[in-house]
């Protein structure tokens, strides 16, 4: 046991002392923060400005101005703000009055070809003559999958209602009051049935949890593999296994590297916990709402990390023991790495219906549980029995993986020749 402790200590100290460890501990959360914010930033920038020619057949002189007003950015808090939703695309409207009996298609055709070449960004909004009597306005553009169209729709809807109310004899403030947007307040239902404000950050928290789980399990699993290869390649194994049993050596490495990972995660979790208690109130005082991550979620994260790490690091240890060099490992690690990566490719399915049978099944598969069950925990509150069951399945799988790894590791680390075939690996299991 004293010898195993020496191995654990070596693995831990050598790794924690490196600059890479310090940098990754500090930089990863920053990188992830950037990554989480990037899609939003990109979408906002990507939308940019869109010039829309409004073909106005409504015959109403004020409708256009009302729509335009509502689409234009206003200072936050201003009364005029018809729509406080952040706009992904900024619409710049230009009015062209078209007589009700004119053929709208002709007008568009003329305009479209007038510019010489067909403009990618050209967009038309048709306000038909009967718009107040139920005729549908029409938006025509090359790109109709723009997220910003929703805000255009809402602006038109509000403007039409306002004009109708005005025609019905209402005035100014009353109209404003009657057309005020109703905002839906989204709250998370907790296990106890209480309501919890997630500040619209639920998705980001879930994504951060998912990504960190994926990243740390993959990184530390690969650390294990490289460590095994280093010792095998340099023949240090011979000295070590002439003093310690191969199984003890493997467990020492697994635990040592695992403790390095836990140190890093511990630092992250503590800073998040501090931020959500002390930091939250400081930021809240300045009007910035930070995501609140409940303590239970952090605990589950650590638990699932430990399980995920042990499962994958053990599998990576098998890979390391069967190859002779990092180059060979590139290929050999594929079957293990793909198991880590698959959840990242299918997590949207789970996110879409986190309590559906597919999501529940996927989150029970031991290789996917660390990421997908964690995701479900972050998105909804899955029944506790499901969480515990997935953990139990993982524990059983880990025991099996360690048993397999012990058999292969012991033979593999002392075999320097060519990479073994699967049949040879099978024979290794029977060596005494």
């Amino acid at each position: 046991m004293k010898k195993v402790w020496a191995i654990i200590k070596r693995e831990y100290i050598v790794r924690v002392r490196t600059r890479a460890f310090v940098i990754s501990t500090i930089a990863s959360p920053l990188l992830l923060l950037a990554l989480a914010l990037l899609p939003g930033l990109l979408a906002a920038r990507g939308g940019g400005e869109r010039h829309v020619t409004v073909l106005d057949q409504s015959g109403d002189p004020q409708l256009f101005d009302l729509i335009k007003n509502r689409l234009e950015p206003h200072d936050a808090g201003s009364d005029e703000a018809g729509d406080n939703q952040p706009q992904l695309t900024r619409y710049v409207l230009e009015r062209r009055i078209v007589q009700a009996d004119e053929d709208i298609q002709k007008v568009i055709n003329n305009d479209y070809t007038a510019g010489g070449k067909a403009d990618q960004d050209k967009a038309y909004l048709i306000l038909p003559a009967g718009i107040f009597d139920g005729a549908k306005p029409e938006y025509r553009s090359k790109n109709t999958s723009d997220f910003g169209i929703r805000s255009l729709e809402s602006a038109i809807s509000q403007a039409v209602t306002a004009r109708k109310l005005e025609r019905a004899g209402l005035t100014g403030d009353k109209i404003k009051d009657f057309t005020r947007r109703v905002e839906l307040d989204t709250k998370k239902l907790t296990a106890e049935g209480g309501a919890q404000d997630d500040g619209g950050m639920g998705f980001i928290i879930a994504f951060v949890m998912l990504f960190f789980m994926y990243m740390t399990v993959l990184f530390y699993g690969l650390f294990m593999m490289r460590g095994v290869i280093e010792e095998k390649q340099s023949r240090i194994v011979e000295i070590v296994v002439s003093s310690v049993k191969p199984f003890e050596m493997m467990m020492g490495k697994l635990i040592g590297i695992g403790l390095v990972a836990l140190t890093q995660i511990g630092i992250w979790v503590t800073s998040v916990a501090l931020l959500s208690t002390i930091g939250l109130s400081i930021f809240a005082a300045r009007g910035v709402s930070l995501p609140h991550i409940p303590m239970s979620m952090l605990i589950f994260f650590v638990l699932f990390f430990v399980l995920g790490y042990f499962l994958f690091a053990t599998l990576y240890a098998i890979v390391g023991a069967t190859v002779g060099s990092e180059e060979e490992a590139q290929q050999a690690q594929f079957p293990v790495t793909i198991l880590v990566v698959i959840p990242m490719m299918i997590f949207t399915t789970v996110m879409a219906n986190p309590n559906g049978p597919l999501a529940v099944t996927l989150s029970m598969i031991p290789f996917f549980a660390p990421t997908l069950m964690m995701l479900r925990i972050a998105v909804i509150n899955p029944p506790l029995w499901q969480v515990l069951l997935s953990m139990a399945i993982m524990v059983v799988t880990i025991v099996g993986a360690v048993w397999l790894a012990a058999k292969i590791y012991r033979v593999g680390i002392l075999m320097y020749g060519k990479r073994p075939s699967l049949a040879e690996l099978g024979r290794w299991l029977r060596y005494s």
Partner: protein, 310 residues
């Protein structure tokens, strides 16, 4: 007293037999040479002694007991192809190697410093292996082998790749350890070193022992069948009816006689051929000759065995 004893040890890997029915004993305080060509089964034999693998049949006794994990701290093993942790300082890894042999860190650190001073590496204790020359690294590996003050040293090709000065430093260290009563097992291809240092030898070829015993006795078995001849002139008087093998080096020739050939006949022919002779001496064969003789001689046997097996 026998420190190590192999009794009919056999190790198989599936159909392949790495060591077959191997028996030898190593006396306490002796230097034992485990010899054989590449792939003969030396490494597997050593691995059985250091408890990395266990024999399928037969026994391995160390200090009179069946080899087990408890006995490992009594052995220091320097593998043939060896390495060090690249990212650890010399001193730190020596302490680590001491730790896994059961030494506490303070004792390990003291031993490491003593040995580093002895092998003139004290200035490098805080450096990492990539900063050291290959020879220095090899000395560090030697220290890793002896840091826990083992009773038995197993050194696989300890001098390969070392410059003559380092070889002498290491030889001196080994000789000193022997004087303290330690037992040393050598595995090497360099027969001159075996002749210089070993008391007993065991020669393995194709997984089987082909020769064993004390060096003196083994050589005596072959008799004085070798002529050392220092001469000037042509060598056409050395005809195959008398001479089995002829190694001519810069200062003299080593002539292995045919079985039953008379050494005096060589002398007679040389004089008749008008060759000028500076030295004529009848000696036991060199270990190198015995090695080649045994290894090439057993090849025929080995191929027969394969046929039977198939």
């Amino acid at each position: 007293m026998n420190v190590i004893e192999l009794k009919n040890a056999t190790k198989r890997f599936n159909e392949f037999v790495a060591v077959r029915d191997l028996s030898f004993t190593v006396r306490q305080g002796s230097v034992f040479g485990l010899l054989g060509p590449n792939g003969a089964g030396k490494t597997t034999s050593i691995r059985m002694i250091v408890n990395i693998t266990a024999p399928d049949d037969g026994e391995v006794l160390v200090m009179g007991r069946h080899m087990s994990a408890d006995l490992q701290p009594h052995i220091g093993y320097l593998p043939e192809e060896r390495g060090l942790y690249k990212k650890m300082t010399i001193h730190d890894q020596l302490v680590f190697f001491g730790n896994i042999k059961g030494l506490d860190s303070r004792t390990a650190a003291r031993h490491a410093d003593e040995w580093l001073a002895r092998l003139e590496l004290s200035d490098w204790r805080g450096k990492k292996p990539p900063d050291l020359s290959k020879g220095m690294q090899q000395k560090v590996q030697f220290i890793a082998t002896v840091i826990h003050d083992p009773d038995i040293l197993i050194l696989d090709e300890p001098f390969s790749g070392l410059d003559p000065v380092s070889v002498n430093v290491l030889k001196q260290a080994i000789t000193d350890l022997k004087k303290q009563g330690k037992t040393v097992i050598f595995s090497t291809h360099q027969m001159e070193q075996v002749e210089q240092m070993c008391d007993d030898i065991c020669l393995i070829n194709h997984a089987t022992k082909v020769l064993g015993g004390s060096l003196k006795e083994v050589k005596g078995r072959y008799g004085r069948n070798t002529v050392i001849l220092d001469y000037a002139g042509p060598d056409d008087f050395l005809t195959p009816d008398l001479v089995k093998r002829h190694n001519r080096n810069a200062s003299y020739s080593e002539i292995l006689l045919q079985d039953g050939a008379d050494a005096q006949e060589i002398l007679r022919r040389a004089v008749a051929a008008g060759v000028r002779i500076n030295r004529f001496e009848l000696v036991e064969p060199s270990l190198n000759e015995i090695f080649i003789e045994c290894v090439t001689g057993t090849k025929a046997l080995a191929s027969q065995r394969v046929e039977v097996g198939a």
